[in-house]
């Protein structure tokens, strides 16, 4: 299957005054065209840093140290990390857009919903004559707000504080579609919302994915949402990609102990309450990552080799697992 973006050995450092932190190390990840890829990880796992590198908007002082991010959406594939600031401005939002975490703070509080849509539209279509531009921007805004089931006449003149959390998030989703991007990055799009609204937002997102054919990269820590919504899953831990495969491969084969632990420790309406067990310990400090496999101090299947040698990426078909246990399966 075709990729829309391919990350190749991407390493991202935060260069602080006294030392530098490696937030993401050598992550290679394909993002499939027209599919939903979920990037799962806890706070500090580097998932937001990795996703923002696609738009080259990593929060300062983070920089892509090495690696390539190839974008296949245009006629000729190109490396995003090599673009100039000018080229990046044209690329952002038009090719890849993002729905940021906390829609509450992502909208400008002193602009109406329509003004924000028009502003972005204007910047990307600055050659159009004004009258034509306003007409087009309005038409597009109405179309998109309708698509996310908001009443354009009511919403367009409103300020963000007049909207509820679910409505703001839907405005943000409509906003991300403004320039017909090929990929949308969704950073925890429903964390602050109630379950019923969450279900509804994902319904809309699924429609966008299927009807408009837009690829999505979903950043989340909610295993339930992943199972319901994603086609592919990438699991990150301590800045490294631990597992990548189809949702079914990751959830059913349960090859990586971390992904397995996450799935089995998530309370759900179906799970057997007495069988559930938490993952021991707590997430690693990226200033001081453990030697060998980053997950070994918390792993129930830890062997001697895990403490000293970092596992390589094992490919079982198209299913990537970074774990020494898989090696043993191979040997047999």
């Amino acid at each position: 299957m075709e990729n829309i973006i391919e990350l190749k050995k991407v390493t991202i450092d935060y260069n602080l005054k006294k030392y530098s932190l490696r937030a993401v190390s050598e992550v290679s990840l394909p993002i499939k065209k027209g599919k939903v890829t979920a990037l799962v990880g806890e706070s500090g796992s580097g998932k937001t840093t990795l996703a923002t590198s696609i738009l080259e908007v990593i929060s300062s002082p983070g920089v892509v140290d090495s690696g390539e991010i190839i974008y296949f959406g245009d006629k000729v594939p190109f490396d995003i990390t090599k673009l100039s600031e000018h080229e990046l401005n044209a690329f952002r939002w038009k090719d890849v857009s993002m729905v940021f975490q906390g829609a509450q703070s992502a909208l400008n509080p002193i602009m109406t919903v329509y003004e924000q849509f028009e502003e972005t539209y204007r910047v990307h279509h600055h050659r159009l004559p004004k009258a034509k531009l306003v007409k087009q921007a309005k038409k597009k805004t109405i179309e998109l707000l309708n698509f996310v089931n908001l009443d354009p006449d009511r919403i367009m003149p409103m300020y963000p504080h007049e909207l509820s959390g679910g409505m703001k998030q839907r405005v943000m989703i409509a906003f991300s579609l403004l320039l017909n991007p090929k990929l949308i990055i969704l950073d925890e799009p429903t964390t602050a919302l109630d379950v019923i609204v969450q279900g509804y937002i994902f319904k809309i997102l699924k429609r966008i994915n299927v009807e408009m054919g837009i690829s999505m990269l979903l950043l989340t820590h909610d295993i339930g949402v992943v199972a319901e919504f994603a086609d592919y899953v990438a699991v990150m831990y301590g800045g490294k990609l631990m597992e990548y495969g189809t949702t079914r491969q990751v959830f059913k084969e349960k090859l990586h102990p971390y992904a397995k632990g996450l799935i089995e420790s998530t309370p759900s309406l179906l799970s057997d309450i007495d069988q559930m067990k938490p993952i021991k310990g707590s997430p690693p400090d990226i200033r001081n990552l453990p030697h060998g496999c980053v997950f070994h101090p918390r792993c129930d299947f830890c062997m001697d080799i895990c403490k000293t040698i970092e596992p390589v990426d094992h490919m079982l078909g198209d299913h990537l697992v970074k774990c020494h246990l898989v090696e043993e399966v191979d040997a047999r």
Binding site: D194, Q198, G199, G224, A227, E228, L269
Partner: protein, 346 residues
């Protein structure tokens, strides 16, 4: 079982001050809440944001006085015996609160030791330093932070979210309370640590008999912790359904509970791909100032008619109560497990 806390006809009205042009507005945040909390149990209070669940928590802990109604502790009305300062302190000692945001709940310029010591020194004046130290060590062991010395002299920002949540739990336990109100204690911590905090709470409940009121919007964690206990479902300041946890989750009677349960994502791709239509009219909760005297769920309910505009009484059915006037009209809920079986057969 003995009743520990009784809420009797509790009403809470917040007012928004008027201006020159606008008249004063009133918001009926809690309406006729009746709820008994028994010794030794865990009660999960569930609802969406704005349903009044946190307000109940604040009333139970004595942080907020209800507009009307009685709050009874072991049979005594709190607000009549609370006039005496000392007894009020006693009540506050027995009922403790664990907040959602563990970072905001701890003083950033105090070490963990200082934060934990303060309540102990206030309430147990007879203890000397060595005894206080012993007590601290005991508490830290209880919440699973060992060796204690490794944590006591740190500042809150040096600990992880899960560790801070355990510190809050230790602080709540330090005065040997009978009841702890936990307001979304796991919603802000990492997924891999949530289960261990929930486990800690149910262990404390079983070993020490501490009663928990677990406030959450997440039915899956509520099911885990209140497993053999009770779930209370709230909507716009009213209790819509209350009963045994497994019964409510497998056979919810109220249309709102049914919608709430159907909306929860199932972490299993086999179930996830089933297309579930939410049995609800609109996604957003109505605002409080538009409520009618009747059923608060009326505008979103699929089964509503004019009858629902009149005040609704509770219906008692197999050990639970439901506030709905059309129980016979609401179809039986199909649990997701069954839905999948039907789907597989088809």
């Amino acid at each position: 079982m003995k009743k520990l806390i009784e809420l009797k006809n509790i009403n809470m009205v917040f007012s928004k001050r008027g201006t020159l042009l606008k008249s004063e507005k009133f918001f009926h945040v809690l309406k006729d809440i009746n709820l008994d909390i028994y010794e030794g149990e865990i009660v999960a209070l569930i609802g969406e944001s704005g349903c009044g669940k946190t307000t109940i928590g604040r009333i139970v802990t004595g942080l907020q006085k209800p507009t009307s109604g009685e709050l009874r502790y072991e049979g005594k009305n709190i607000y009549s015996f609370l006039k005496v300062g000392q007894e009020f302190d006693e009540y506050r000692r027995y009922v403790q609160f664990v907040q959602q945001d563990s970072y905001a709940a701890l003083n950033p310029v105090r070490t963990i030791r200082q934060s934990l010591e303060a309540p102990i020194r206030t309430h147990y004046k007879h203890l000397n330093s060595r005894q206080v130290d012993e007590k601290l060590n005991g508490l830290m062991a209880l919440v699973g932070l060992v060796p204690a010395d490794q944590f006591l002299d740190k500042y809150p920002h040096q600990l992880s979210g899960g560790q801070r949540q355990r510190i809050l739990m230790a602080r709540a336990l330090s005065l040997e309370p009978k009841l702890i109100v936990a307001d979304e204690p796991v919603s802000m911590i990492d997924v891999s640590l949530r289960l261990s905090i929930l486990k800690l709470m149910s262990d404390l409940n079983q070993k020490m008999g501490v009663v928990f009121i677990y406030i959450t919007h997440d039915l899956s964690t509520a099911r885990y912790i209140a497993n053999k206990n009770r779930i209370v479902v709230m909507y716009l300041g009213e209790i819509m359904e209350e009963g045994d946890a497994e019964t409510i989750i497998n056979d919810p009677l109220h249309p709102y509970t049914q919608a709430l349960i159907s909306a929860i994502p199932i972490p299993d791709p086999d179930y996830a791909k089933l297309d579930k239509e939410l049995p609800i009219k609109s996604m957003e909760m109505e605002s409080l100032d538009k409520r009618t005297p009747g059923c608060p769920f009326y505008p979103r309910c699929l089964y509503a008619d004019e009858v629902c505009l009149e005040p609704v009484d509770y219906v008692f059915r197999d050990k639970r109560r439901v506030k709905c006037c059309h129980l016979d009209k609401v179809p039986a809920f199909i649990p997701i497990r069954k839905l999948k079986e039907q789907n597989d057969n088809a």
